[in-house]
């Protein structure tokens, strides 16, 4: 055989053999067979697939392999795992190191993971037993996950039930709200319609009155009628004067009957009586219808007053409804009252009337205002009228759009008598003020206080009236 062929043969055989040896070396090196190592032990009740040859990691770094697994002698025993760890890891491993069986990657083999110990632990010697932590099986995790999912599913079902309930409630609430809105809308519509009609009626009424249509219009605009009424009243006054004279005459006659000249004086009386009768006849004729079938002035007046009363009653009712609808009530709330006649004594005494306003009071004692009339009832005295004039002059400066309350006080008699007396006093004052001064009627009210402890200077129950003007807080002085 030529030398070249021998060399080739040697190269082939040697090279291939070296390659085979390289494979052996790589495997041995990977198995850490060419480094010094120590043998250690640990024990497990559950190996979870750990087997001889499995890798041993120290803090995640390849450090050795499992050498042997000894099967325990009985069911209570534990598998003893013998493994070797490279000598260089010895300083890391301590007596408090713990061995756990873990999976090498998601689809990898099981490995024995040794945790580094603490500096307080002693260094391990060959053959030492390392503490172990039993592995967590995937089946256990799955079981745990299934239980968790079931629990979560139950919770979700509960939450869903609660949400469904809430949604049902919300739907019910929405339906109720819708019904309420519809009903309120209906009411609002009716109120608006009533208000609109009332306004229209009032407009028509006022227009009619202004135009002189109807009884009231005629009454207001017909000058002739006014003159007739005025004349009638004048006649009535004159008749009354005559009657008074007759009465005086009768009294004189009576006196004179007791004395002398009776006949002459009787003639004069008869003459006067005839004259009075003639005037009374004219008065009655004025009141009777001019032609047969017609109602006459008294009938017209009665009908007019009745119609006006009805119209005003309806109007007042509509206005009352209108005042309380959403569109207008803001104004009345800001004003502090809807209707002064609707303010109860209890509310008034409790201070719930116009709480945002400041009262300006004028205390007027009964003795200053009233005198006892011929019928025994109280009536305003001339001094009282002058006093009220003084008060009105002062109030008028600020009375516009501010409520004026006439409080009546009476301390004599029983409770109902006190109320009636106080109401009569307040009404008398109000009527006088409204008659003489341009106060707004709907801004003037009466309040029968009866006998109550007042805030007058003496502190005693007041007997008389108190004229109270309620002023806005920013302008009122208060007293």
């Amino acid at each position: 055989m030529p030398v070249s062929k021998k060399v080739t043969l040697a190269v082939f055989l040697g090279g291939a053999f070296l390659l085979f040896t390289l494979g052996l070396f790589l495997i041995g090196d990977r198995r850490m067979m060419f480094e010094r190592s120590i043998e250690l032990r640990t024990e497990y009740r559950q190996l979870s697939g750990l087997k001889v040859g499995s890798k041993v990691l120290v803090s995640g770094m390849d450090a050795g392999e499992v050498l042997a697994i000894d099967v325990p002698g009985g069911p209570d025993g534990r598998f003893q795992v013998r493994f070797r760890v490279l000598e260089k890891f010895r300083p890391v491993l301590r007596s408090d190191s713990v061995a756990t069986i873990q999976m090498d990657g998601l689809v990898g083999n099981k490995v024995l993971q040794i945790g580094a110990g603490t500096p307080q632990g002693r260094e391990l010697e060959p053959g030492d037993l390392i503490a172990s932590r039993e592995p967590v099986e995937i089946s256990d995790l799955i079981k745990e996950a299934v239980e968790t999912v079931q629990y979560a599913r139950g919770s979700v079902a509960d939450v869903r039930e609660a949400i469904d309930g809430a949604v049902d409630m919300f739907e019910q609430l929405t339906r109720n709200a819708s019904d309420i809105v519809q009903e309120v809308g209906k009411d609002v519509k009716e109120i608006s319609e009533a208000g609109r009609q009332a306004t229209g009626d009032v407009r028509d009424l006022v227009a009619g009155v202004k135009a002189g249509r109807g009884s009231l219009g005629k009454l207001i605009t017909d000058d002739a009628l006014y003159e007739r009424i005025r004349g009638t009243v004048g006649e009535a006054e004159r008749v009354a004067g005559n009657l008074r004279e007759i009465s005086d005459d009768a009294k004189a006659i009576t006196e004179e009957l007791k004395s002398a000249g009776l006949a002459a004086k009787f003639d004069r009386v008869v003459s006067n009586a005839a004259d009075a009768a003639e005037k009374g006849k004219r008065l009655v004729q004025g009141l009777l219808p001019e032609r047969k079938g017609e109602g006459g002035l008294s009938t017209d007046l009665r009908e007019t007053v009745a119609n006006a009363n009805k119209a005003m009653s309806d109007f007042a009712e509509n206005m009352e409804a209108l005042k309380r609808n959403w569109f207008f009530r803001g104004f009345f709330n800001q004003r502090g009252f809807f209707d002064l006649d609707a303010v109860s004594v209890a509310d008034y005494q409790a201070g719930r009337f116009a709480p945002d306003r400041v009262p300006e009071r004028h205390w007027l004692h009964r003795s200053e205002l009233f005198m006892t009339g011929a019928d025994g009832a109280e009536e305003l005295s001339p001094d009282g009228r002058r006093k009220l004039d003084e008060v009105a002059a002062e109030l008028l400066r600020q009375a516009r759009n501010n409520p004026l309350m006439i409080e009546g006080y009476a301390s004599a008699g029983a409770a109902h008598e006190q109320i009636l007396a106080s109401l009569a006093r307040a009404a008398a004052v109000r009527d006088y003020l409204l008659k003489r001064y341009p106060f707004q009627r709907n801004y003037v009210g009466v309040m029968p206080m009866g006998a109550v402890a007042s805030s007058d200077p003496s502190g005693a129950p007041w007997d008389g009236v108190s004229v109270v003007l309620y002023l806005p807080r920013e302008t009122g002085r208060g007293r």
């Binding site: 062929k5 055989l13 291939a16 085979f20």
Partner: protein, 252 residues
């Protein structure tokens, strides 16, 4: 026909037994064995290396496609090396070897038979069986594990080329991972079982060539049948060998 087949099988077994026996008998025929090793081993090296490299590249691509689904790309080198060393390398090498060497032995011995060269050797008092058959059997038995090692490494390198082209993995990390799952029990038995492959290929091919009949047509038939029969027997014997390896070296 069955009887004839069984008779031929028995004849082949006796041929193989004679080869095994004569290996240990003098003369050793060392020069001829060396020449045959060069012939069947060295000359097969380019084919084996190229085939092994290509197989490695292809296996790397397939392995990546499979392991990528599980997010286990890091296992590609280990999986590839394990598959190559345990089974693919030996089997591919055996099949290639039977195709090239088996056909050659069958044709060469068949030609020598029909041209009465074997008879001439016999007339010169040369043990033709020992000189022609045993030397080739020994050469195949020696060359097969060496060629298998070359195939394995060529395949691993081919896998690295494919892997680094995709992921840029370093050579050191690739080889570290490639041998991370391989044990001696995986490497040595799988490599050495190819000696059996070499013996089967050599004895079957030599038997068919040594007993060629029918002139030049018989030579062609012997060559073809040598490749087919040795390949079939190689694959069948692999089943038995793997079972034996698993029995003696159980998987850990």
């Amino acid at each position: 026909m069955v009887t004839a087949a069984l008779a031929q099988a028995g004849d082949m077994l006796l041929f193989a037994a004679r080869a095994l026996r004569d290996v240990w008998r003098r003369p050793w025929e060392g020069a001829e064995i060396a020449r045959q090793i060069l012939e069947v081993g060295w000359r097969s090296l380019p084919l084996i290396t190229a085939a092994g490299f290509a197989v490695g590249v292809v296996m790397s691509m397939h392995t990546r496609a499979s392991l990528e689904r599980f997010g286990a790309e890091a296992m590609i080198p280990a999986g590839l090396a394990l598959a190559l060393i345990k089974e693919t390398g030996p089997l591919v090498t055996g099949l290639l070897f039977s195709g090239r060497v088996g056909a050659g032995i069958g044709a060469e011995l068949g030609a020598m038979r029909v041209t009465e060269q074997i008879d001439a050797l016999e007339s010169l008092a040369v043990d033709s069986f020992k000189y022609l058959v045993v030397t080739r059997v020994v050469a195949c038995v020696v060359a097969m594990p060496l060629l298998t090692t070359v195939t394995n490494f060529a395949g691993i390198i081919g896998g690295f080329v494919a892997e680094t082209a995709v992921s840029g993995m370093s050579f050191a990390l690739y080889f570290d991972r490639a041998f991370s799952l391989i044990n001696f029990s995986d490497y040595v038995p799988s490599t050495l079982k190819t000696c059996v492959f070499g013996f089967i290929i050599a004895t079957v091919s030599a038997y068919l060539g040594y007993n060629t009949r029918g002139g030049t047509a018989g030579v062609g038939q012997a060559s073809t049948r040598a490749v087919v029969l040795s390949s079939i027997l190689l694959i069948l014997s692999n089943v038995v060998l793997v079972k034996m390896i698993l029995f003696f070296f159980p998987s850990r």
